[in-house]
């Protein structure tokens, strides 16, 4: 009995310890997100949050649903494998407007061919040898590219000989 009496301060200490542990459990319950550990050592809900970010590039499928005339011109040509937004920029807002029934409310800006074409086709030793490249100053005396080339089907010869590719 007397031994137990001497140990009373230890019980008090153990009580405090249990209390602190309970407080820890309560705090933990509120601060650890519900989905933490759902798939691993991270917040599972964050995957859904990232997946919900807005899309800016609509994707060529969305463009081709409406612009069938351009597709018909582009597919046999050398730019068949170049997606619409590679040149025209991000058009999800335009596609959204089209879905809402008014595609002209957000009208894409036509790209400046003098900058656009040169980005890919200016000759440089670093580019793959088979890739069509020109020195703009010599090639066209700085005439706009579309004077001779249709950007959607740039080949000067019959489209059948052009090396288009699957997307």
């Amino acid at each position: 009995m007397s031994a137990l009496k001497d140990a009373r301060h230890l019980f008090r200490f153990a009580g405090l310890f249990v209390l602190a542990f309970l407080v820890f459990l309560v705090v933990r319950h509120y601060y650890v997100p519900k989905s933490f550990g759902q798939y691993g050592h991270y917040r599972g809900a964050s995957i859904g949050e990232i997946a919900q970010l807005p899309v800016k590039f609509a994707g060529h499928q969305a463009c081709e649903d409406c612009h069938t005339d351009v597709v018909a011109k582009k597919n046999p040509g050398k730019h068949a494998h170049v997606n619409c937004e590679a040149c025209h920029g991000a058009q999800a807002a335009h596609a959204q407007a089209a879905l809402a029934g008014d595609p002209t409310s957000i009208k894409p800006v036509l790209p400046d061919t003098s900058v656009l074409c040169a980005r890919c086709h200016t000759a440089s030793a670093a580019k793959p040898k088979g890739f069509p490249q020109v020195d703009p100053a010599v090639h066209s005396q700085r005439l706009p590219c579309e004077t001779c080339h249709d950007p959607h089907s740039p080949g000067m010869d019959a489209p059948a000989t052009a090396a288009g590719g699957a997307k």
Partner: protein
């Protein structure tokens, strides 16, 4: 503001309830997307890259990447015949506006697009002290920016230099493999805008994905294989001088 003890006792449980609904998170955005059906990677064909910078611009538009920071960038290598192990590498503004014209002279030039390799044994996720970055069930390395402390440990850990601390959000940021796009059946912004098909999104769990045939029949490498990161950015025709 004066809050009495009584008011505080009423307010605290109310705040706890509100906080709980915040933590519950949002449901998955694409109901038809099954994470366990995919294992994403990227095929980068060095022999097709023309260094136009379309991917860099598209990525910055799609993901609101701040100026001077890059989730993907393009490097131009110049390997001199006499310095095979010391190539000259440039990447002006990440290659966003293209590259200076390379003259036909000694040595070879080529472009190497770089991005997060979405490693399956990624060093960056292993060092995160709070579980803010992780490999998702579909093999994409993501960052939970609400949970990230911004300690930048992962930035140091990435052997490919693919991470940065976002200048205004003050948390780690990097390529998400356009997770918000691929879960909706779209391809990534860089693949969508690449004019030569030098980048191809690959789903290694899809038996019909052309990546399987490509890996079988081409000289494909990953960057820094000696790091054993399980990188899933596969480079075709990669020169030995690329580090």
């Amino acid at each position: 503001m004066n809050i009495s003890r009584r008011k505080m006792l009423i307010l605290l449980p109310a705040a706890a309830v509100a906080w709980e609904s915040v933590l519950a998170g949002t449901p998955e955005a694409s109901p038809n997307y099954k994470m366990t059906d995919h294992w994403w990677g990227m095929l980068i064909d060095v022999s097709k890259c023309i260094g136009c910078g379309n991917c860099v611009r598209a990525c910055q538009t799609e993901n609101d990447v701040p100026d001077g920071y890059f989730r993907t960038w393009v490097e131009r290598y110049h390997v001199d015949d006499t310095h095979l192990e010391n190539p000259t590498v440039i990447s002006p503004d990440g290659g966003k506006e293209g590259f200076p014209i390379a003259k036909e002279d000694a040595g070879k030039y080529f472009f190497v697009p770089k991005m997060c390799n979405h490693c399956s044994d990624s060093p960056c996720t292993q060092v995160c002290p709070v579980g803010a970055t992780f490999i998702g069930p579909d093999g994409v390395v993501l960052i939970d920016q609400k949970y990230c402390l911004g300690c930048a440990y992962c930035v140091q850990a990435c052997p490919y230099g693919c991470r940065y601390i976002h200048p205004t959000k003050a948390v780690a940021d990097k390529c998400t493999l356009c997770y918000h796009r691929i879960t909706k059946g779209l391809t990534t912004a860089c693949c969508e805008s690449c004019p030569t098909g030098a980048r191809q999104l690959a789903d290694l769990k899809n038996p019909n994905d052309p990546i399987h045939e490509f890996l079988k029949t081409h000289n494909v490498q990953v960057l820094k294989p000696q790091m054993a990161t399980g990188a899933k950015a596969f480079y075709n025709d990669l020169d030995g001088s690329v580090r």
